[in-house]
């Protein structure tokens, strides 16, 4: 967030801009882009059968002797101090082993914040945890009860009496805007962007749109609530967690408890949905502290209500977008200003104004976002942080502009689509967003759309179609490592502390390793999900697949060198350099003369070694400093709006994705669909009810916080361009988050087409439409 960061990033970009592409990662396109065997196939998830049978063991299911169950007491004020806390009745309640408050909690350091500079940190906030009587948000944990059963712990928690000295709290977004702060940077981007004279062009433009869009607070509701089973053994902390940041969580816990990094063992083989929320929050820290104090293992399994009070959500946003265009629809100016909430103790950015910087070749830009500092729980990352709300505002504004111009909204985008980064001029690594539009338009039958709103009606139902662009940047994390071991039977074992949250991590990397090593699928195993395995960065920013792929690719290179050395001179491969051989048919062979080959089994047998093992690492992602690299999508929606009640029924969604090559058609389709359904929820139903009088969240159950139900989810078509990105491992870009972007705008635009009503505030509940 600092000025220094802007200088460093700017400097690196300037230098890398002059470095020849061939020197950078991806300088030579990955040969696996074309030489695919298993990659690109439909492969079912390796973890599927165990999950269906209930055999996959999740964090809250790990058995332990003498296990204690935790219940939390949450504060009911947003700011102030605990004046008195009476735990005597709770301590005397049946089954209770311990009540922990700030009075007896062990000393703990503040969590090290998650960021790009320390990959072993995962803190979402920088507040002390149960170290003093201070209350800093409504819902903060003020007491932890441990008991022999969950029911006993929950009951005892109700017996704790807390008296507060409340202090004035800042909990109102509208009031906070006046004293909002303006960070220097958002993620790795400079915040304020002024290019050309946007205000002058806006004033002079023939056509313009200037409107304010709002998106509400949203909370995470993965199917598996956050959970951890925790035990201390001989001074070592052992955590069975549900996290998408294994090493970040382990490293943070080591810092917090003053342990050596190796003294924390963290296992997280399965995560029941992460979406950005499954990182380090107070529950693991408090669970570990209480386990230490009680000297017994502890299980923390958050209730839905505790999740809402302890696990951050996505901030509300208020975004002004102004677009100016000439009569041909060419953008003269793009202005995007906005406010979100980010308490000073909160780490996660919601960079909603990054969206408009990459999509369109506007002549001028005026972009900046501000944050309101409130006494609230820290934000979390939530699938497509920034781009999810950002695309809603930008892409609704584009639809408004198209309508004002009397132009088809796809045509407006075609006339303005960026052919390079519109701000820096950096070339795209690959971009074919209009190809995605062509695919999607054909699939949904865009030619059936009537441009004039309100023209299609069946009974009481008004029917409309809309479209919108989605976008999410490519990211590859440095430092992600993979160990590949070839055993005496020639089987490759791939291992990394990577994460399985249901997206098919091990499945796809097994396909990758098999193709990379010239092996059939059943000759490759993949082990992930444990801190004892080689370091992996978080599963976030849609980066895990690319990071692991780069690491496997690097490890494979080392493996060639090692195998040639082991093979020695008594082999058909003798005299060949690593660059002259390739993996094929369970062995190595000469590229020039495929007859010169030796199997892995043979090389190992002759060398007398039981196995050969190497570690490869994903290097610095310098390619993103030279190229503009984004996954993009064209979203289409057809829906009905009741002219009587204002209810919306989405009949169809089509997502056409330009994300490089697709690695597994089945898991990719699920990722895209899941993302789109999350976008559907954002559009239609999801809203955290934050009572601004108290800073208290009132929608803490699945009955009050409305995620889409099955009946809300329409037929979804997923298409992709499948054009390889020559600058990325496997030619693929991230697909985890892109699905959520652009969907809400496509739906809102379809509502306008159906009804003529332009709703700029999410969610699109029926009261906004009658």
């Amino acid at each position: 967030m600092s000025k220094l960061q802007n200088v460093i990033v700017g400097g690196v970009r300037a230098v890398i801009g002059h470095v020849p592409a061939s020197w950078l990662p991806g300088g030579t396109p990955d040969p696996l882009i074309d030489k695919r065997v298993s990659l690109g196939e439909q492969q079912s998830r390796i973890d599927g059968p165990d999950k269906v049978r209930g055999k996959a063991r999740f964090a809250a299911e790990v058995p332990m002797e003498k296990l204690l169950y935790a219940a939390f007491v949450h504060s009911t004020i947003a700011r102030g101090r605990i004046a008195d806390i009476d735990v005597s009745a709770a301590e005397a309640a049946p089954g209770v082993a311990l009540v922990m408050t700030y009075r007896n909690a062990p000393k703990m350091s503040v969590p090290p914040p998650i960021g790009m500079t320390n990959l072993k940190a995962a803190g979402n906030h920088t507040l002390p945890i149960m170290q003093d009587a201070e209350i800093r948000w409504n819902g903060q944990v003020v007491a932890v009860v441990l008991a022999d059963t969950r029911e006993q712990a929950d009951h005892a928690a109700t017996l704790i009496r807390v008296r507060y000295d409340a202090a004035p709290a800042r909990t109102r977004f509208g009031e906070g805007k006046a004293s909002a702060y303006t960070p220097e940077s958002i993620l790795v981007e400079r915040n304020r962007l002024e290019k050309g004279d946007a205000s002058k062009k806006l004033a002079q433009a023939a056509f313009k749109i200037d409107a304010v869009y709002t998106t509400p607070w949203e909370n995470h509701n993965p199917i598996e609530p956050h959970a951890a089973t925790i035990v201390w053994r001989d001074g070592r902390l052992i955590v069975h967690d549900a996290t998408q940041m294994i090493h970040g969580t382990a490293g943070s816990l080591a810092k917090i408890f003053g342990l050596k990094p190796d003294d924390v063992e963290l296992s997280s083989p399965y995560v029941g949905g992460g979406f950005g929320a499954k990182g380090l929050w107070d529950h693991q820290i408090l669970g570990a502290a209480a386990a230490k104090l009680a000297n017994r293992p502890v299980r923390v399994a958050l209730s839905r209500a505790s999740m809402h009070r302890l696990i951050g959500g996505r901030t509300q946003t208020e975004q002004r977008v102004a677009l100016a265009a000439d009569a041909d629809g060419k953008l003269k100016a793009l202005l995007h200003h906005g406010y979100g909430v980010k308490p000073l103790h909160s780490i996660s950015d919601e960079g909603f104004t990054l969206t408009g910087r990459s999509l369109y070749a506007s002549e001028s830009f005026d972009i900046v976002q501000h944050y309101v500092d409130l006494d609230l729980l820290a934000n979390s990352f939530m699938r497509a942080p920034g781009e999810a709300p950002g695309t809603f505002a930008i892409e609704c504004a584009m639809d408004e502009l198209a309508h004002a111009l009397g132009m088809d909204p796809i045509e407006l985008r075609r006339r303005n689509v960026a052919t390079c980064d519109p701000v820096s001029g950096a070339p795209h690594s690959q971009s074919a967003i209009m190809k995605a539009y062509d695919l999607g338009a054909a699939r949904i039958g865009w030619d059936r759309r009537i441009a004039q709103p309100g023209m299609r009606r069946e009974g009481e139902w008004l029917i409309g179609m809309g479209c919108a662009t989605g976008t999410f940047p490519f990211m590859r994390m440095p430092g992600t490592s993979v160990r590949i071991t070839i055993d005496a039977d020639g089987i490759a074992h791939v291992a990394s502390a990577a994460h399985e949250m249901g997206m098919g991590t091990a499945t796809v990397q097994r396909q990758h390793a098999a193709d990379r090593l010239g092996l059939p699928l059943d000759r490759v195993t993949v082990t992930i999900g444990d801190s004892s395995l080689p370091f992996a960065s978080f599963a976030g920013g849609s980066s895990q697949t690319a990071s692991l792929a780069a690491a496997i690719s690097a490890a494979t290179g080392k493996l060639v060198t090692d195998l040639l050395r082991l093979a020695g001179n008594d082999t058909p491969l003798a005299g060949l350099k690593p660059s002259e051989v390739e993996f094929a048919d369970g062995g190595l062979r000469s590229v020039e003369d495929p007859a010169r080959q030796e199997s892995l089994v043979s090389i190992l047998r002759r060398s007398g070694r039981g196995e050969v093992s190497v570690i490869g690492e994903s290097g610095a992602p310098l390619e993103i400093m030279k190229y503009a690299m984004h996954s993009t999508s064209a979203n289409f929606c057809e829906l009905r709006v009741s002219a009587v009640t204002g209810e919306i029924r989405v009949d169809r969604l089509v997502g056409a994705f330009d994300c490089g090559r697709i690695l597994n058609a089945k898991t990719a389709t699920s990722q895209f669909k899941g993302g789109m359904i999350m976008g559907l929820g954002m559009a239609l139903t999801e809203e955290t009810l934050l009572d601004e009088r108290t800073g208290r969240i009132m929608s803490t159950s699945l009955a009050d916080y409305h995620v889409p139900v099955h009946l809300d989810v329409p037929d979804i078509d997923v298409l992709w361009t499948d054009i390889p990105d020559p600058r990325t491992p496997l030619g693929a870009r991230g697909i985890g988050e892109i699905g959520t972007t652009g969907v809400a705008a496509a739906i809102a635009n379809a509502v306008f087409n159906a009804t003529g009503k332009r709703v700029r505030d999410l969610p699109l509940t029926l009261d906004r439409l009658i």
């Binding site: 007491v73 949450h74 009911t76 049946p94 409504n138 029911e151 929950d154 009951h155 109700t158 209500a305 009481e460 009587v644 009640t645 204002g646 209810e647 029924r649 239609l684 139903t685 009810l689 009572d691 009088r693 108290t694 208290r696 009132m698 929608s699 803490t700 159950s701 009955a703 009050d704 409305h706 889409p708 139900v709 099955h710 009946l711 809300d712 509940t765 029926l766 009261d767 009658i770």
Partner: protein, 328 residues
Amino acid sequence: MTPLTYFRAADRADALARIESGARLLGGGTNLVDLLRQNVEQASELVDVSRLGGAISETDSGGLLIDASVRNAALAADPRVRRHYPVLARALLAGASAQIRNMATVGGNILQRTRCPYFYDVDGARCNKRQPGAGCDALDGFNRYHAILGASDQCVATHPSDMCVALAMLDAVVHLAGPGGDRSVPLTDFHVLPDATPDVETVLKPGELITAVELPPPSAATTNADYRKVRDRSSYAFALISVAGGLALADGRVTQVRIALGGLAARPWRATRAEAALVGAAPTPDACLAAIREELAGARPLSGNGFKIDLVERTTVAVLTALAGAHP
């Protein structure tokens, strides 16, 4: 949840004896167990009456007698209900989820409590229903789902049931048993408006239990009837508003009309004024609108639910005009 003892009632006398000594009645548990777990309610004893009876039988007068323990799913699937009281089947199926309907009983559905979030937030919010005299945080808080009819400055909660709206429209009668003997109460009189005592939600006396619900014989207006629920998502959401309507015509004029409204008050709201205004009239959209407006004349919207007036007007007109169009 407070530790408690669970009993399964052997028969009605056993159940009455248990509640006499302080036990709480347990039906399917789809609401009460949540309330206990969230500490909104406390009980040291539960007496499960969900296995007493369970019959749906025809009465001598041609109506139906439904035991209180009949599950919502079973009631909705009953062929007699589907044929003669379709509005009830539709209301039941509009409620909750399949899993909840499989558990929930008729008696429990009638006795379910409001879904006001401030009522549920025991630690962090004020609620006169939960703690008389504490204050009401919904009055100036999130009240999108709250009442526009019959509320007071003490409580603006709504009754969340779909089934009860259909029962109100059908002139259902609730049969009670208690220490003072058996008695019957029309469903429309069973729930009471909050006034100064929002903690009192029904006319049920201490020690009484619901034994059955009786439906009068079907008539033209109960058969040509529909239930329309308007909510924030397609399923598994409480009604913002709902309309149970029934209509009979002769020579283009309304001979019988029944309208009950959900999501508007602390009880299912039988729109008697609207009904009176429509009898004898041609059921044109304008006439229907004028009639429902008469009903809503006393509506008092809150900060977050003013849209309900427009919504219930539109929905009522749509339901009645569709019934008029469908009338044989």
